[in-house]
Amino acid sequence: MASKVSGGAGAQAGGTSAFDPAVLDRLAQLSFVARTVVEGFMAGSHRSPRRGSSVEFAQHREYVPGDDPRFVDERIFARSNRLVVKEFVAETNFALHLLVDASASMGFKSLRWSKFDYARWCAAALAYLVLEQRDTAGLVLFDSEARTKVPPGNGAAQAAAILASLEAAAPAGETRVGSVLSWIGTRLKSRGIVAIFSDFLDEPSVILEGVRRLALAGHEPILFQVLDPQEVDFDFAGNLRLEDLEGSGRIQIDAKAIREAYREELERHGAELRRGAAASGLDFVRLVTSSPLDVVLSAYLARRMARARDGRR
């Protein structure tokens, strides 16, 4: 079921919001970023993934040292003076696959942070959220091909691995989103939500083909297009000599003269992606690096809840 997510549900006015990229930019470590976003999200009006999530009781088992005392079934202890812990239905079959575009074009920035910074904040926040929920998360950093892989897993160690990979990465190389998605679709074993963070500066048909392959493989891709405000507005003035971040392309232009046409080209590209995603029942979310990050989380949770209701695995 496709759903359109609009951002800003948890955003607050001013620069003090937990979702404000300007605030997050000042955080040194990605782990802090992830925690800040998630806790901020949870502190708001968002439904707690724990309280409101569809986590089901599975069985009891004998307490062993090291178990979390919060899960000791108190009624049974009171009745039988036995220490047993509750085991819930572990979503061990639900995985979040984070695909983050680390090509050179993701390094563009008109603010203090680049598109890649914004994308990894989003990815880190989602990973943190998922892993806190004891779901499985994995990471693939790619450019023209998969560059770094963190296989799906859960637990604290998994979070650390994902965050470390995200922190260590730097945007470089060319973009081939479509071919990467097609290739990854055959490599992901556990079905789940595939959150793709990219600027999608590639042919829409190729991208959509890759996305469809993912969907055919049983996954639920969410397309998060990350763009810089200047890439959206093209609010430049004067004569520019634009040089391609990913190649040797170069062109001299009068910025004002082509602004209108540029925006039309951008919208046409985005509309084609959006149509293609909608046709497959998938979500396409445009993220501008000046926007709050709660949009990301809201979109993910909406898709997560829809999946849980439908009982899809």
Binding site: G238, R241, L242, E243, A257, E260, A261, E264, L266
Partner: protein, 776 residues
């Protein structure tokens, strides 16, 4: 496209139109580098919009360049030809040349205003019709003896120049000079196209301007032979003149083109497309009446002071009726009683004034009439020179106090210095102051030869070297020498002392030998021919006096071989036509060699009183003659003043009384100083040069009396003179269909409007592009 520019230099400002292009090209080179990720969209947008964006930018640039160029052209004020491609856009512009007749005849005053004042007023009216803001131009030529451009820029400048004109000149109109200046203007300033100029000649249409006096006289002579009366002759002459300009058969032996230099100028102007509208602003009469003084001077040549004489003032009546006029004469400022004079129509009458000059030298004569309508010829001055007695040194080679006929110079001196107690014809006048010496005294140091104007040497056997040297010095300095041999003369000695083949000796010819008739009873020589125009012999040119010279017997003479540059004035009738009288210049003086004796020894000339007296007087006067300094000049002539002492702080005074210092260094000459040439004698009347030493030099500047002939040319005759001329009938509202076409007009207004439109278009288009690109 443009015929020219009012401000040609500003047209170069159109190059400023390149500035926007340069700025555009410079800006194209300045591109800010920027690494960009979404280049695919930029490339796609660029491909879509490249052509349109280029066209928009180029159109904007073109509008800016066009606006700058149009502004520069508008400031340069271009104008187009009347038939040019932009003539429809041009404002009408007039290019006018006014030629003002400023000759003396325009001083004629019939009513309150003179003809010249009418001419100036008419010129003001023409200038007032012009509009400087639309580019009208006017040039004013002031024409009299010369042509001067007194205004050549704006109508305002022309009005100022006209305001400074108050009276005409004293000269005649030189039409050829005025037309020549007009041709120069057309060639230099109108690109050789006279068709675009509106040329007007404002004149009194004086006939002699168009028909010179020589031509008129010749034509009049031709027709007068067949005319029944003088009046009919005049009419016939006028008719013939009128027909001469229309290429009709004229009976004149003088072709108009040959005697009328203005015709060649008109031909050239006609080739340039120029047409001249002649405005007749003269009096209504064809022959306005005018009395004028034609001449002032002695009736007979002046011989010297102390002689009673008559001075005459000749008055010309140019009118058609006889006139009675009072004539007065002043001598050296002293006015004599006026005389009433009746002058016949078209004729000349002379008022005579008895006078006597008490001293030699220059004397000022001023004749005047009671005023008539033309004033310039009612006064006339002249400076006459009364010669002083000739100071003659007579060197007698064979004095004989007992027999005058045997004395070498006895009869001659008697002729030159007759005894006169004052009751005779000369009345005490002594034309010659004679001092007689012998040959030995000639070399004496106490004999100052500088005090003699002429020296006569007769019958000397020879002369000493010292005497010859003194003679050479004196003759070279300007004295005259008359030398004749005699019975005692040694011709070889003469040659040795007085002749040199290279001409450095005194004698004009080499003495050869004595030639005598075989018998005086049977034969003699006579004068075969002589120079009748020579001042010394012109007396005998008159037929009644001729035999006095040609019939005188000559029995003996000395044959001579004249130098190449010597002039033989008289020849005998011998086989060789031997010279009798030979003249040659020697320095500033002259030497006359009489090859026979001055006494009766060799001829009978001295015994013929009626021959001797005029011959001796004239030849001695001629030998001593020095042209006195010219004191009577024409308009525009240079003044050369001579002073005995150094002329300190000389001041020139004009007839009007205006004074100005003469800043010329004087030149020292023998006997004095010369100051000049002094320019500026442009008015008729008495001019004076005074110095601090008290010396004064007086000059009389005379206008051409023929300028007083006010006979006018009819408009029909004027129109027939030349196709370049057209008469303007001022009584009609429009010209007689001969108005010059208006010159091409100014284009600055439409160009300025186009510039404004270009600027507005550029602004609107730039704003439109800016808003459209901002909306994107």
């Amino acid at each position: 496209m443009f015929e020219g520019f009012q401000n040609p230099a500003l047209a170069l400002g159109a190059l400023a139109a390149l500035v926007p292009l340069v700025i555009h090209l410079l800006n194209r080179r300045r591109h800010r580098p920027l690494a960009f990720g979404a280049l695919r969209f930029v490339l796609a947008a660029y491909r879509r919009t490249r052509r349109r964006a280029q066209m928009e930018n180029w159109l904007l640039l073109a509008l800016r360049m066009l606006a700058v160029a149009l502004l520069a052209f508008a400031l340069a004020r271009p104008f187009s030809a009347a038939d040019g491609p932009l003539a429809l856009l041009a404002e009408e512009r007039r290019d006018v040349v006014l030629i003002l007749d400023a000759s003396a005849s325009t001083g004629y005053r019939e009513n309150v205003a003179s003809v010249f004042e009418t001419i100036v007023e008419r010129a003001r009216e023409h200038v007032a019709d012009l509009d400087a803001s639309r580019g009208d131009r006017v040039r004013i030529l002031l024409a009299d003896g010369t042509a001067r451009l007194i205004a050549w820029r704006s109508p305002e400048e022309a009005q100022s120049a006209l305001a400074a004109l108050d009276e005409p000149s004293d000269g005649a109109l030189d039409l050829a000079a005025a037309l020549s200046e007009l041709r120069r203007i057309i060639t230099a300033e109108a690109a050789g196209d006279g068709a675009g100029l509106e040329i007007r000649l404002l004149t009194d249409v004086q006939r002699r301007v168009f028909v010179t006096d020589e031509v008129a006289d010749a034509l009049a002579d031709d027709v007068a032979q067949d005319a029944p009366t003088p009046g009919a002759a005049a009419v016939a002459a006028a008719d013939t003149l009128a027909g001469a300009g229309a290429n009709s058969a004229a009976p004149s032996t003088v072709t108009a083109s040959a005697a009328e230099p203005w015709r060649a100028e008109l031909d050239a102007l006609f080739e340039l497309g120029a047409r001249i509208l002649v405005e007749d602003l003269g009096p209504p009469e064809t022959l306005p009446p005018n009395l004028g003084i034609q001449s002032v001077g002695p009736v007979e040549p002046l011989l010297g002071p102390g002689l009673p004489l008559e001075l005459e003032v000749a008055v010309t009546n140019r009118g058609a009726a006889a006139a009675l006029v009072r004539v007065s004469l002043a001598i050296d400022g002293e006015r004599l009683p006026a005389r009433a004079l009746e002058v016949p129509a078209g004729g000349v009458a002379r008022a005579l004034f008895p006078a006597e000059f008490d001293r030699a030298g220059p004397h000022l004569l001023e004749g005047s009439l009671e005023g008539d309508r033309l004033v310039f010829d009612d006064r006339r001055a002249a400076v006459v020179h009364v010669p002083a007695p000739v100071r003659l040194l007579a060197v007698n080679g064979a004095p004989d106090r007992t027999d005058i006929e045997r004395d070498a110079l006895g009869l001659w001196l008697a002729a030159l210095s007759p005894a006169d107690d004052g009751d005779g014809a000369l009345g005490g006048f002594v034309p010659f102051a004679v001092h007689e010496v012998d040959a030995l005294e000639l070399a004496a140091d106490d004999l100052d030869l500088d005090t003699f104007d002429a020296i006569v040497i007769a019958g000397v056997d020879s002369l000493s070297s010292a005497a010859v040297a003194r003679l050479e010095a004196r003759v070279r300095a300007g004295a005259g020498l008359l030398i004749a041999p005699g019975e005692a003369s040694i011709l070889e000695a003469w040659n040795e002392r007085l002749f040199r083949p290279d001409g450095t000796g005194l004698l004009p010819a080499q003495m050869m030998r004595r030639i005598a008739v075989a018998s005086r009873r049977t034969g003699y020589f006579r004068v075969a021919r002589f120079d009748e125009s020579h001042p010394a012999l012109s007396f005998f040119a008159e037929p009644r006096w001729r035999p006095l010279f040609t019939e005188v017997p000559f029995y003996e003479f000395a044959s001579t071989r004249p130098l190449a540059d010597a002039k033989v004035l008289a020849q005998l009738d011998d086989e060789l036509q031997s010279p009798l009288l030979i003249e040659r210049a020697f320095g500033a003086g002259r030497v006359l060699l009489f090859t026979s004796s001055l006494d009766p020894a060799w001829n009978r000339l001295a015994l013929s009183a009626r021959t001797l007296v005029p011959f001796a007087h004239e030849i001695v006067r001629h030998a001593a003659h020095r042209d006195p300094p010219r004191r009577t000049l024409g308009i525009g002539a240079m003044i050369q003043a001579r002073f005995e002492t150094f002329p300190r702080n000389p001041v020139l005074t004009a007839p009007s009384g205006a004074r100005r210092p003469v800043e010329i260094d004087p030149v020292e000459l023998q006997g004095g100083f010369e100051l000049g040439p002094i320019a500026g004698a442009d008015r008729a009347g008495v001019w004076r040069v005074d110095t601090d030493t008290g010396e004064r030099a007086v000059f009389a500047v005379q206008a051409d009396p023929r300028e007083g002939n006010l006979e006018r040319l009819g408009s029909a005759a004027l129109a027939d003179l030349h196709p370049a001329l057209a008469a303007v009938n001022l009584a009609r509202a429009a010209d007689d269909g001969a108005a010059a076409p208006l010159a091409g007009g100014e284009l600055w207004r439409p160009i300025a409007l186009a510039c404004l439109l270009a600027l507005i278009a550029e602004s609107l288009f730039a704003a439109f592009l800016g808003r459209r690109r901002a909306r994107a």
